[in-house]
């Protein structure tokens, strides 16, 4: 039985379709990622699933409970961490945690084992006001508060936005641990590199899911051979690659450019072309596409 089951869910604001006919299932204990830029509809989807807003049409069932009709029961079994830091800034770390524990009819002691790994990072600061914590610590406190009532399904809306890479990595390690305890987790993020860590991901744009699959399947289904090209003048390289007639796409990707070329062309031809343009230290090697490569390809196809 699936933990979350969504069927043809839609929601519009005025004339804008924030969520357009979205369907998916998440199994128990799965870590499901929703990847997409701001404005793709991630927050709307989360609010629908957490019973905060009503859908225009379609339905969603969480642990067998309908989000519209059984909203009160749904609220008892889910944990939710909204996109913005939504704790009381003028209460201390400890006061926030105790407050949310009580609101959810439990005590910190009862479920301490669940949050111990996360909370111990911030415990030294338990008498500090939440508003005075750093970004990474705020996230940990918010996650502790969302977990304190031992929810069956955890909804995390962009928990790592604006958080530095180190804290982000720590945060994801915590999510993987929670997953191993059998909690279903639905998490959204604008960072493509975090997608790798999910069991399955949905790539989202303009209120629609472009694709739902495991990261491996998504990258494996990339239809072209992908080349990483480097040279001495990286900025000029991108323009010259774009100008090349048999280059299909070219994007800068950190230290290299990721390039796809026509089937009739070859890496050797590309090397020769760049040499004639006066580049030195040319490096061209075939690479495995990343989720980001796939997402960009889908965005391009979607736009056409």
């Amino acid at each position: 039985m699936s933990s979350v089951s969504v069927s043809r869910l839609s929601k519009s604001y005025n004339s804008i379709k924030a969520l357009d006919n979205v369907s998916f299932d998440v199994s128990k204990g799965e870590l499901f990622g929703i990847i997409g830029p701001d404005g793709a509809g991630k927050t709307t989807l989360f609010r629908l699933l957490t019973t905060l807003i009503l859908p225009d049409c379609g339905s969603a069932v969480i642990e067998g409970l309908d989000v519209v009709n059984d909203y009160a029961s749904v609220r008892r079994i889910i944990g939710y961490m909204p996109g913005r830091f939504s704790l009381y800034q003028d209460l201390t770390v400890e006061e926030n945690l105790n407050f949310f524990a009580t609101v959810f009819n439990t005590t910190v002691k009862e479920n301490y084992h669940l949050i111990e790994d996360i909370y111990k990072h911030i415990e030294p600061f338990r008498t500090r006001r939440a508003g005075k914590l750093s970004g990474g610590m705020k996230q940990k406190l918010a996650l502790s508060c969302a977990l304190i009532h031992k929810p069956k399904v955890l909804f995390l809306d962009e928990p790592t936005t604006g958080v530095d890479p180190v804290s982000r990595k720590e945060f994801w390690e915590m999510l993987l641990k929670l997953k191993s305890q059998g909690i279903t987790i639905i998490v959204s993020t604008p960072y493509m590199d975090e997608a790798r860590l999910c069991d399955r991901i949905a790539l989202m744009q303009n209120g629609k899911f472009l694709r739902i699959d495991s990261p491996d399947n998504i990258t494996a289904s990339y239809p072209y051979r992908l080349w990483a090209v480097t040279a001495n003048n990286m900025h000029g390289l991108l323009n010259d690659l774009r100008a090349c007639q048999y280059v299909k796409s070219s994007f800068s990707f950190g230290a290299s450019c990721h390039v796809t070329i026509d089937e009739s062309a070859s890496a050797a031809m590309l090397d020769a072309y760049l040499s004639t343009r006066g580049y030195d230290d040319i490096g061209i090697k075939e690479i495995q596409p990343t989720v980001e490569d796939c997402f960009m390809l889908m965005l391009k196809e979607d736009a056409q």
Partner: protein
């Protein structure tokens, strides 16, 4: 002071009570350079950037931006820099051209100059047809493009970008970097913070701040070689792991 450097910081320090947010940082940024300013949350990036923009007075040390001392002439510094944050400093309820006119006016440009510049800018970012559109009706990527154009509208010598690409899709993010390259090629110095480590690779040089100090400063390639790793993400993680400071 050498003509070549547009930002120079010497032992720049900021203390709040007995807490040293920025601890004697020294670095220089060349004209036309894209300078990445990285660091974990709470490492002191924002405080340092505020001092360089003339918004906050240094407790100690010296800083020169666009040839003016940041402690003594913050107003002159402000006149010669552009600033763009993640929140895009655009007025949502004004039209595209009205936003440009407003910023031109704020920096004391003449009406005719504003009109001419508006035409060139809109052409260069491919938004001529959107001249009369309300900013709130623009897609996120376009707002970002416009916000950058606004921050460089008064031909500043330096533009400070505070996490300019947060939350935008990967294609838009790359287009934005191309816009940054264009500005740098025209001689504008770009000072940028980001949490995307692949973007660190696009910078000419990057500095990484840990606990209020600059722990590393070099070109991305040199840093990768120095630490013997394959990408900036790992460089960053190796350095940030040493941090003792938690929270701010």
């Amino acid at each position: 002071m050498t003509e070549e450097y547009v930002i120079q910081a010497e032992n720049l320090t900021k203390r709040f009570g007995d807490f040293t947010a920025v601890d004697h940082i020294t670095f220089s940024v060349r004209r036309g350079e894209i300078f990445g300013f990285l660091g974990a949350n709470g490492a002191g990036k924002t405080t340092a950037m505020r001092m360089l923009c003339g918004l906050s007075r240094p407790s100690e040390g010296k800083g020169t931006v666009a040839g003016f001392d940041i402690g003594r002439y913050p107003e002159k510094v402000k006149r010669n820099i552009g600033y763009m944050s993640q929140k895009f400093s655009l007025y949502e309820d004004l039209r595209v051209w009205e936003n440009l006119r407003l910023y031109g006016g704020i920096y004391g440009m003449k009406d005719r100059e504003i009109a001419e510049k508006t035409d060139t800018v809109l052409r260069s970012i491919d938004m001529e047809s959107e001249r009369n559109t309300m900013v709130c009706d623009l897609p996120l990527g376009w707002k970002q493009k416009l916000a950058f154009a606004v921050s460089t509208f008064h031909n500043p010598k330096i533009v400070f970008l505070d996490e300019p690409t947060g939350g935008v899709d990967p294609i838009t993010r790359r287009r934005f970097w191309e816009q940054i390259y264009g500005a740098a090629a025209s001689g504008i110095t770009v000072f940028v913070t980001t949490h995307y480590m692949d973007e660190a690779e696009y910078c000419d040089r990057v500095s990484i701040m840990v606990d209020g100090r600059i722990k590393a400063l070099d070109s991305p390639m040199a840093l990768r070689n120095k630490f013997g790793v394959s990408d900036m993400d790992e460089v960053f993680r190796m350095l940030a792991r040493e941090a003792t400071r938690k929270g701010d």
